[in-house]
Amino acid sequence: MTFMRLSGLTLAAALTSTAAWANCDLPGGNVNILGNDFAAINAVVDGARACAGNGMSVSANLTIEHRDIQVAALTPNPAEYTSAIVANSSIVPLINGGLIRPLDDLVAANGQGLNQNQLITIDGQVMAVAFMANAQHLYYRSDILAQVGRDVPTTYEEVLSTAQAIRDAGIMEYPYAMNSKVGWNLAEEFVNMYLGYGGTFFEPGSAMPSINNETGVAALEMMAALNAYANPDFLTFDSNATAALWESGQLALATMWGSRAAPILDDEGSTAEITGATGLAAAPTVGGGGIPASTLWWDGFTIAANITDQDAEATFVALLNGLSPDTIMANNDLAVWLAPGYTPGATAQGVFATANAGARPYPMLPYMGLMHTALGDNLSEFLQGQESAQQALADVEAAYITAARAQGFVN
């Protein structure tokens, strides 16, 4: 298995930025984009909107509810939207339902400017074009590490001992936090930890779960050990809560999303002492594993299946225009871009380090969403000390199998 790493990106960017870029000179077509509502996507969509005119119409619906309406919106023929902007988890229901089209022809005709590794291929067919990356990684306070004479932890075991040292030194009672809110966040932490231990979620080639094993128990116990250094409220900690704790200087070590680095390091909400001492490092490894206990995420665009070829091409070209090196350069710090034109800044270090250390992408399996939901609903009792790790994992498997059976993945 070979991993093409993000480090190649800057080089690729330098090489391709002068390459011919598709312009939106097309006979016409309707473009309608569905996506999430945040600054980076807004920038891309604004770039796409620049193509409007000359028979081409470009509109967009950017809303936080995009994920919940995308399947229904792309199902009718013609589909309501010509493109859905997705992440590697939310693309799955679109693929499962056959609602997005292969992009090979469009890439061949118009996508010369794209980096090869922006193309998301499934079974050899390009199904999406990724444009930004994200991952959870370690945030640390260099001043506090210096006080206790520790280096930046590279393993979760070191995170534990460093946290203990900080507690022993009387600096902080609860020096560590992760996004461990019950539900999606907690499940994501388990996914990270379990993959870090080298676990696999399913029996090979099947949808049967295989998490109730030593690896699963080890991952859960590591989560419990880490959260012993977290505030007792940790089961309510989402990204907003951990970021606020960090900005107030109540944390020395934390596992948080790379996309939160820019808002944490800016001059709002925190003091210069805290932001000045905040460092970003790769997600730690765990249990002697060779790869960071984290998953890599991307955001990218897809093109609906149930639309005319003309609209599909117009959409593809318009979105490529939104990803032109000019757009990326103008919005350089809004995201960790995968598209040519990007110069990684200080806030991207953590994501880059995590990707370069070999972290795995979040599994893009048709039934991973069901597993994620089952994990999110069933792990809190163990972390509260109300049941054993084995029982928690058995509950996850039972809940998952019931759901997977109803969805037709398991007989």
């Binding site: 080639g205 969403g369 939901t373 039972a398 759901a403 969805q407 993945f409």
Partner: protein, 342 residues
């Protein structure tokens, strides 16, 4: 009123309800009886910015053929209702035969999502509803005794918990009860316990949710009761006063009986709303310690893979649960109705 006239009057309303509620309920019922097709899986390779990994995906052509053969999916009867994520018949039976004593059985039952949710839902419904009615009545009586000048502003302030969007209202309350927030920090100081957390302990979380529920629903009961108080006939009260009834006796024997129909109305609406408790749990991020039927539905529909069948079954059971809860109240209404009819 002749049937024909009745029909014309009710038709627009009925049509709206049939189209947008009855038909969807019918389709939800049908959906709950079916499960998805078997998904034909093939092994593939997935590549992206972070390299290639062996993967599995759904065989579109084979699955499409199955979908066209049976558009509704595979008929499953009531088995979705009885599976582990719902009524869990098999698991309950196993827990019954395998447990030593009631406590153990209860513990095993609480490990099943449906029963865990039901336990909180019922506790919430039966604790919050009476307090809302009592508090609402108390506020209404007290406000009614205020000087006329003060009544207006008081009513207006009393309605505030009902009007502020729960979305942000609960966000701010959630913040206030944090150990660093104003209420949480004050409580820590009052109890002298610096580890006190309203968010970590299950018992305190339940208490917080109950209090939030009472706080946010009382204005509804208050405004209905307050209005009802205006209709209590003054002569009866005066007569009671002349007969030497104390203020309390007047409230107990004149006012409260007069308000009985209002109590029924509030009970009906509150039982139903509290049984569907949702916003309080989400707003106060209490999913670790509290779950409800509506939370289960939300979790099914909002995952990366939406589970319509499962959500449909839980929704139907919510309707049945509400119907059971309301039956005693409705029997009373039926009697009233027949009495009035005569």
């Amino acid at each position: 009123m002749p049937h024909r006239t009745f029909l014309w009057f009710i038709l627009p309303s009925l049509l709206a309800m049939i189209l947008f509620i009855a038909l969807p309920i019918g389709s939800v019922l049908v959906q709950s009886l079916y499960v998805e097709h078997e998904q034909v899986l093939i092994e593939t390779e997935t590549c992206g910015p972070f390299g290639c990994t062996p993967s599995v995906s759904v065989d579109q052509n084979a699955t499409r053929a199955l979908r066209e053969a049976q558009p509704l999916g595979r008929f499953n009867g009531l088995r979705t209702y009885t599976d582990r994520n719902h009524l869990a018949f098999a698991e309950v039976a196993a827990a019954w035969s395998g447990s030593d004593g009631w406590v153990d059985f209860g513990g095993r039952l609480m490990n099943l999502p449906f029963y865990k949710a039901l336990a909180f839902t019922l506790a919430y419904t039966f604790i919050v509803t009476p307090f809302v009615i009592i508090l609402g009545l108390a506020i209404a009586l007290a406000v009614n005794g205020l000087p006329r000048m003060l009544k207006g502003p008081t009513i207006f302030v009393s309605l505030l918990p009902m009007i502020v969007t729960p979305l942000v209202g609960s966000l701010i309350l959630f913040w206030m009860i944090d150990a660093d927030g104003i209420i949480g920090a004050t409580l820590q100081r009052l109890t002298g316990n610096s580890d006190l957390s309203l968010k970590a302990s299950p018992a305190l979380t339940w208490l917080t949710l109950f209090l939030y529920g009472i706080w946010s629903s009382s204005p509804f009961a208050f405004i209905v009761f307050y209005a009802g108080l205006q209709t209590v006939p003054g002569e009866t009260l005066e007569a009671a006063q002349i007969d030497g009834a104390t203020r309390w006796q007047r409230v107990r024997y004149v006012t409260i009986p007069y308000m009985a129909p209002l109590v029924v109305f509030i009970l009906l609406i509150q039982l139903m709303d509290n049984f569907r408790v949702f916003e309080a749990i989400v707003g106060l991020s209490a999913q670790a310690n509290a779950s409800s039927l509506s939370i289960l539905i939300y979790s099914d529909l909002r995952g990366d893979v939406a589970q319509f069948g499962s959500a449909a079954a839980t929704s139907m059971m919510t309707i049945i649960g509400v119907a059971i809860l309301l039956t005693p109240v409705l029997i009373r209404t039926w009697r009233d109705f027949n009495r009035k009819r005569v």
